[in-house]
């Protein structure tokens, strides 16, 4: 009896050990394949640990983390669009100016155009409508306008780049000046205010804690459902599937992360609206990159233009699309910007283009084209924001902050170059 028991427990430990080895191998392989991304994740963890040690009281408290994640959102929206642009072998230097420009356009419409033109019509049509509801309608219209103007800006940049064959660097450098000029034209050099409180809260407010919990439950449900559904579909196609234990560990890991994050944020104000929007947009664009023809074509164009062309891909149309998506991202960033500042002021968005490009590059996007991920760009953007946040609290002088950020950028690319050589 005892002997039997021991042997089965030995069997169990052996099986457990085998599985652990398998799992570690799998983990190691994944890390090796995406060395660039993982290096930056380690850098991020290192930074968090460093600042936690240096600022034991303040850095890791929910309020600071909440501020930190909020601070990354605007640049992150731009970086998400920028990944696609850079992946096709192009660049967009106009996004900073364009963000500032859209912010002023939105304020201009909401402050100067809607009140005399649209809101009276609405009040006449629906006599009982309250000022609060009118404000929300005005904000919804403003968001739509921001997306349209963003799309148009993208179309302008993309059309000239793809169809008139002016290099994107030049087109968007021109755009940098053009949109800065237009921004001054819209504002006339003065700030435009006041904007609706509903517009103001897009960037600054929190979701009620209960909503945060519901969201977390939904996301976890989706993770579980999707993992199992993918397994089922692969099985139906007769393709090999990973041992269930991998997927279980993965599911548990991500679920814990989601639940933990929401819990942590709820300790302070709750989930911020801009962060939730960022996650949604990042998810959509990641899906676009990985699971659609358009995404594949973008990577193919950047990887080898000639091979892409001979594979029947319409390069011009796809580059145009990429810029239009970039434009939409600029639209969202513009909304966030005006919401944060609370007014339409001239001079917004300066150097945002460089921060967005730096985020992409730190996150592993290759300026040669063909390589880069959305999640990488978000990590890049988070690294820069973390540096900002920690340094400000440590009273690191301004000049040193710039120097260190510059060094991190160079380090990130060096890691890429060095590991590429060893791979060859």
């Amino acid at each position: 009896m005892t002997i039997k028991n021991t042997s089965s427990s030995i069997q169990f430990t052996e099986r457990f050990r085998d599985l652990t080895i398998l799992f570690i191998n799998f983990l190691w392989k994944t890390i090796k394949r995406n060395l660039k991304t993982y290096t930056m994740i380690f850098v991020l963890i290192f930074l968090f640990a460093l600042f936690w040690i240096l600022l034991p009281d303040t850095f890791m408290n929910p309020r600071n983390i909440s501020n930190l994640t909020r601070a990354m959102t605007i640049i992150s929206f731009l970086a998400i669009g920028m990944v696609f642009v850079i992946v096709t072998g192009n660049i967009d230097l106009s996004v900073g100016s364009a963000t500032g420009f859209i912010a002023t356009v939105v304020a201009f419409f909401q402050v100067h155009l809607f009140p005399p033109l649209i809101l009276p019509v609405l009040s006449a049509l629906f006599p009982g409508i309250s000022g609060y509801v009118l404000g929300i309608i005005s904000t919804i219209l403003a968001v739509i306008i921001a997306l349209i103007v963003g799309g148009l800006i993208g179309f302008w940049n993309g059309f000239i780049t793809a169809y008139l064959r002016v290099p994107a660097f030049i087109v968007t450098l021109g755009g940098l000046f053009i949109f800065r000029g237009l921004m001054s034209a819209v504002t006339g050099g003065k700030t435009i205010s006041p904007i609706e409180s509903s517009l103001n809260s897009i960037f600054n407010d929190y979701l009620p804690r209960e909503v945060g919990i519901v969201l977390a439950v939904l996301v976890i449900a989706f993770i579980v459902f999707n993992t199992l559904w993918q397994r089922y579909k692969r099985m139906k196609y007769g393709l090999e599937i990973r041992p269930l234990i991998y997927d279980l560990i993965k599911m548990i890991f991500f679920s814990v992360m989601v639940a933990g994050f929401v819990f942590y944020m709820n300790l302070y104000g709750g989930l911020q609206i801009p962060l939730v929007l960022l996650v949604v947009v990042a998810f959509l664009f990641s899906y676009l990159a990985k699971n659609t023809r358009f995404g594949r074509y973008a990577y193919a164009i950047g990887g080898n233009k000639e091979a892409a062309r001979l594979s029947g891909i319409n390069i011009k149309a796809n580059v145009l699309k990429v810029f239009i998506f970039m434009g939409m991202c600029i639209g969202i960033a513009g909304i966030m910007f005006v919401s944060r500042v609370g007014t339409g002021a001239p001079g917004g968005g300066e150097t945002y283009e460089l921060l967005a490009i730096a985020s992409c590059v730190i996150g592993g996007t290759s300026l040669m084209g063909g390589e880069g991920t959305i999640i990488g760009a978000l990590i890049g953007s988070l690294i820069m924001v973390t540096l900002d946040n920690g340094f400000v609290q440590l009273n690191v002088p301004n000049w040193a902050q710039y120097v260190i950020k510059g060094l991190v950028l160079i380090f990130a690319v060096w890691v890429d170059v060095a590991t590429r050589k060893s791979r060859e």
Binding site: K233, G303, A307, G312, I313
Partner: protein, 508 residues
Amino acid sequence: MNNNYILEFDRVTKDFPGIRALSDVSFKVKRGEIHGVCGENGAGKSTLMKIIAGVYPYQSYKGCVFFNGEELMFSGSSIRKAIEKGIAIVYQELALISQMTVGENIFLGREPNQKGIINWNKLYSKTQKILSKYKLNIPFASTVGKLGMGQQQLVEIAKALSEDAKLLILDEPTSALNETEVDTLMIILKTLKKNGVTCIYISHKIEEFFRIADTITVLRDGKTINTVPSKKTTVPEIIKMMVGREMKERFPKAEHKMEDVVLEVKNLTAFHPDFPGRTIIENISFSLHKGEILGIAGLMGSGRTELVTTLFGEYGINIQGQVLINNKPFDIRSSRHAMDRGISLVPENRKDQGLILEQSVLENISLPNLPRFSSAWAINKNEEVKICKEVVKNLGIKLGSLSAQVNSLSGGNQQKVVIAKWLVSHPLILIMDEPTRGIDVGAKYEIYKLMNNLAASGVAIIMVSSELPEIMALSDTIMIMHEAKCSGILKRKEASQERIMTLAAGYK
């Protein structure tokens, strides 16, 4: 050592992994002569020249090379030392910087200077001296980009001569020149000869040897076949020497059943997209049957690639003539349109045109086929994997997993991936441009087998190739091109290497 000879090869053998490029090559070049070296693509001409130029160092080959009576012993890669000894090579691909002037190009890297500051007057006066000495009529201060190909070639020659070259080697100098430019070049070469410069002239255009060469050496499959004075030989004799090899068991035998006509091309002419006045193919007509392999032979630059890329919709709409697919008119618009009508093209250069090297095998194979397994908003990845797995298995591509980078595969397997890319759509017509370039004999054999199998399953294949044995062994019909025109169509039975070469050289 006889001082009459400036250069002597003595049993030179050079091996590359898996292939013997030169085997026991021996011949001598007389001082002051123009010595023609001819042979088919892959006969070993370029390898030989790279040995003289110091690209391949001493002891990386067997045998001896004597220059001016002393043995050449370059260590490492010593192109510079070869130049100092007086050996200058003008390569087929010009290495000029088109934004710089003629003078700057000639003295690039050794500009006359004082303490690093360039003495422009000296540079240009030296340039002028060289140009007038050899009667080269080139504007010395013009930027190279503004010159025609012929004049650019002369700049390269001037650059070589400016370093006091005793031996000038020209590698396929006329491949990019038009007829008048070739005439000028010939006159210049004769002037150089009078000035005492020895010249080795490499080409596969046989008629040129008879215009200028004193002696002709023929190479074939890395061996010297013969060295003869040009006055004592004829074009057919040279052709015979170039191609007279026995066919070994290098090709799988197969009879193709030819069925209905799939593709009919009538009087097709296409114009250059940037220069609308220039034709890139002229008045081509042929028909292709189901299950047939049509070989297109011809020298490089004869319009073979241009013909097939035009059919694939690569040269846009600037086209005259008629193309029918399955008896229905096919108006050439774009490559996507050509694919939709059942044409696939395996392009000439797999690294530049066929593959995205950093991406996975899966992504490469599915790239042109994504519309088959995706809607506007989603790719069915399971379907993708399933289809790619099938085609990888059918072609016998050896790989660890579908997610392996294409970069990590061997040349032969990479080529199979390119072919796989174009088979997923089950094309009616498969065009293969140089399907076996740069892969080893074993992989070639497999690709030939694959082509036979495809033909047997009813695919019509057009194969462009520079290798005559391959064309002859596989094709049912052979079309030979010369200077953008079709110079002849032969059935397999009528074809001999001599006939093909004769037609390719423009003789009837």
